[in-house]
């Protein structure tokens, strides 16, 4: 929908634009998904399609309706949730250590090693040439999260050692 906010476009153009912007995020876009999504949006009254007069294959150009514009605006304006309580490592850690499947300190150390290696990977990505400022911001964000994750592992370990073995 955001792609339509600037004007009108038909399915194929949207598919191309999506691939250009988010190509590596989405595994593979098929035209069917684009058209079914557009059809659903049209049914919900968020976009409207108009058949192009001189086109005999029934090609449609789409544009946002007023309601579509409102829905898009509120999507943009609502902040994304801040807390990230769900953490894949922590779930694994609690499950594995509570049933005695793993030594907690070993798990923490393995995870720490992975985070350090990931930091190294990201920094190398930043040192490489040819990335956009947006990519840089994305990677810097991941670096800051990793640093917090490393601090959190220290905290888990500290509590563990202070309180005796958790398992």
């Amino acid at each position: 929908m955001a792609l339509l906010s600037g004007g009108r476009g038909h399915g194929y153009e949207l598919k191309q634009a999506l691939e250009q912007e988010f190509g590596s995020l989405l595994p593979e876009l098929n035209s069917g998904q684009i058209y079914s999504t557009l059809a659903r949006l049209e049914r919900d009254g968020l976009v409207e399609g108009e058949s192009v007069a001189d086109d005999n294959r029934g090609k449609k150009v789409y544009r946002l309706t007023e309601r579509g514009r409102e829905v898009l605006r509120s999507w943009v304006n609502v902040p994304v949730p801040g807390s990230r309580l769900k953490d894949a490592f922590f779930i694994k850690f609690v499950v594995a250590t509570s049933v005695g499947l793993a030594d907690p300190l070993t798990m923490i150390e393995q995870q720490r090693r992975e985070y350090f290696q990931s930091l190294r990977d990201l920094d190398a990505r930043l040192a490489a040439n040819g990335h956009s400022p947006t990519t840089e911001l994305m990677v810097e964000g991941a670096v800051l999260h990793l640093k917090a994750d490393l601090g959190w592992l220290d905290l888990i370990e500290e509590r563990l050692v202070a309180g005796g073995s958790a398992s």
Partner: protein, 242 residues
């Protein structure tokens, strides 16, 4: 890579008048030529003590330090000072530049102290400052430079005598994140040219740039992990510039 530095079973106890404080308790550390080693650990874990001992700034209570096969922990003060001047470079958290000297003169100092001619020292200092991106700041007093610029001057000073080893105690600890990143980039470049580095740091990002991360806890080596080559990073999407 051959061992440049070898510390065996190092211990350091400080006598503070009351109970003796154990700063290091049986630490082994080897740094090979060309290696970049980071030392991490919580405050008070013994990072700075370890650096001071292996760089000949302080003497261990027990254990031994070898620098290229030569035992240095029992050298005379004069011999230690000579070793530090000629073969080691230092970078500190608070830069430790001489405030009354210009940036350039700070970099020239270690060269002049080891017998380099005035003209050659000036040439080398200017070259280093230019390499580190502050070629235009040579005449400035340290107090007129930003933290990041001062640390670049300190790094130039540390590299001036082409030392065998550069020792850094929290080299990015007093810098804003942008300057920290720049200084880290310069350290990484020096390492890329073959410079051996031993850095104590709180900053995981600095540590992640090293070949090895040694973690100290309560005066002992808790972990010594070798990091692998950087793996390719797949971005969820790679949009055009905002």
């Amino acid at each position: 890579m051959t061992a440049l530095l070898e510390a065996c079973d190092l211990a350091k106890t400080y006598d503070t008048g009351g109970l003796p404080v154990v700063a290091l308790n049986g630490v082994d550390l080897t740094v090979r030529r060309g290696e970049f080693v980071a030392v991490m650990g919580p405050s008070g874990c013994g990072k700075s003590t370890l650096l001071n001992l292996v760089a000949g700034l302080d003497r261990p209570s027990a254990g031994a330090v070898w620098f290229e096969g030569e035992r240095i922990d029992q050298l005379s003060e004069t011999a230690l000072a000579r070793l530090r001047r000629r073969r080691l470079g230092f970078v500190f958290q608070f830069f430790n530049l001489l405030p009354t000297l210009s940036a350039e003169a700070n970099v020239e100092l270690p060269l002049l102290l080891t017998g380099t001619s005035r003209r050659e020292a000036r040439r080398t200092a200017r070259g280093l400052l230019a390499d580190l991106g502050i070629g235009d700041k040579g005449r400035s007093a340290p107090s007129r430079l930003s933290g990041g610029q001062q640390q670049r001057v300190a790094l130039a000073r540390a590299l001036a005598n082409q030392p065998d080893l550069v020792v850094g105690d929290e080299p990015t600890g007093n810098l804003d994140s942008g300057s920290a990143r720049e200084v880290l980039g310069l350290l990484r470049e020096a390492h890329g040219r073959g410079q051996t580095l031993l850095l104590a740091t709180h900053d995981a990002r600095v540590a992640a740039a090293a070949d090895r991360v040694v973690t100290l806890r309560d005066g002992r080596v808790f972990d010594d992990r070798t990091l692998g080559a950087a793996r390719p990073v797949t971005l969820p999407f790679d949009p055009e510039p905002l």
